[in-house]
Symmetry: C2
Subunit: 240 residues, 2 copies
Amino acid sequence: MYVTIPSEQTPFAPQLRCARKQATTVTKVFKAGNNLYFEGDKVDRLYQVQSGVLRLTRLLEDGRRQVIAFGFPGDIVGFPCDGRYHTDCDVLTEARLQAYHLSALEGENGNPELHKELLQAALREISAMQDHFMMLGRKSAVEKVASFLCVLTERMSSDTGSRNQAFLPMSRSDIADFLGLTTETVSRTLSQLRKSGIIAINNIHTVVILQPNALFGLSQGREDIDCPSKSGLHGLARAC
Amino acid sequence: MYVTIPSEQTPFAPQLRCARKQATTVTKVFKAGNNLYFEGDKVDRLYQVQSGVLRLTRLLEDGRRQVIAFGFPGDIVGFPCDGRYHTDCDVLTEARLQAYHLSALEGENGNPELHKELLQAALREISAMQDHFMMLGRKSAVEKVASFLCVLTERMSSDTGSRNQAFLPMSRSDIADFLGLTTETVSRTLSQLRKSGIIAINNIHTVVILQPNALFGLSQGREDIDCPSKSGLHGLARAC
DNA sequence: CGCCTGTTTGAGGGACGTCAAGTCCCGTGG
DNA sequence: CCACGGGACTTGACGTCCCTCAAACAGGCG
């Protein structure tokens, strides 16, 4: 999952249709904390997320980390390049994954239909990543966090049934490394949004969106974060 | 082109082999300043760069811009998503491009070999973009500019014949919007590299790499930019 | 209950952005 | 040929957003 301009988000990757019939596909359940693969491993299969959340990361030698994406239901992870994975992939919450063996994609026994769908998935991936460039390169901390919450709400709404609640299965430092910030800045920004009445933080992994429009506005850089007065609570002269 | 960790760079996309034989492919020359397509245009063809340099950009409503990538010889641009381009594409220096009509890729008359090669190209693109995430999210201005120069040197070395010279056909603000900086910061950083003796700036579009190893070190965050003394000019107590 | 890890909050500093004033380059025209 | 003008680039002064460092706090687990 990449943070995009929420309204422009393309539909989730549909289930790879034809592949379901293949003997090469298996559905498996992975526990939280499991590793699916490491950067550099030879690619033998791709995974489509059916439930749960994955995390894709890259490391620099000096320890700096970038979370490349989160894998939500519908997403495909494990795209190979030159036969190797180029991120680490870990399971954040117990996940049901459909595995596609690479042999089903290559060589003479390759399934052309599956091949075509994989290309579509890769092209969607490229588009989503381009959106994410804009965010990493050009957005402020508030815009980044607001965008993140907006997209999380959309992506997980099917699970929770509610568009007003975001479930954050990942740690603050995962969020930070995804958005190109520090944990402290992520934490501070969330507090700021809470104090201004735009969100409420139920518990560390659950954020309630009190003012979706304001949040969306912030994600686009269209409004400044400000006093609670902006949300109708005039007269409250609390610290902004 | 994405700025990657230079040493890990994957080989350029090889020419789409089978496609050359197709009647659907044409080589065309485009002048600097030409536009190839806009974001949102219907995709009718992809382009492989044979010579020259392209620029792929995205815009936010408020005018903020992100240069998504530069298209150098070997690169393929115009990957569709849901049938549309999702960047603008402009020609920076006169370019010879091979156009692949999308009809050659889709439907019943689709060429399966070409299809397969396109998937490989898309997967390479994804890998390169993931590298670029790391840079946008986690690197300092010096690291970004140094990385950019390193990759430029590699990508263009076949043209210039020299690995010690980088040709920068794009403007400073293109570089800034690619790296997630401002023109001023790009300019200052280049000056800083020049003053420390790591590069020389022949003219606005030509940078000579005097100390490739130092530059590479900076791109990796392994060394601090410092006095010229570091490069052997001990005793020079000039401003660092 | 105490430890441990993750999170929040605070104070302070630094890197980069903003704003503004040069400087350079190049094309145009006298 | 030089003067002029305009746009891109460079440089400087200053501000600010976010990072760094540090301490307090909170929740989970023995």
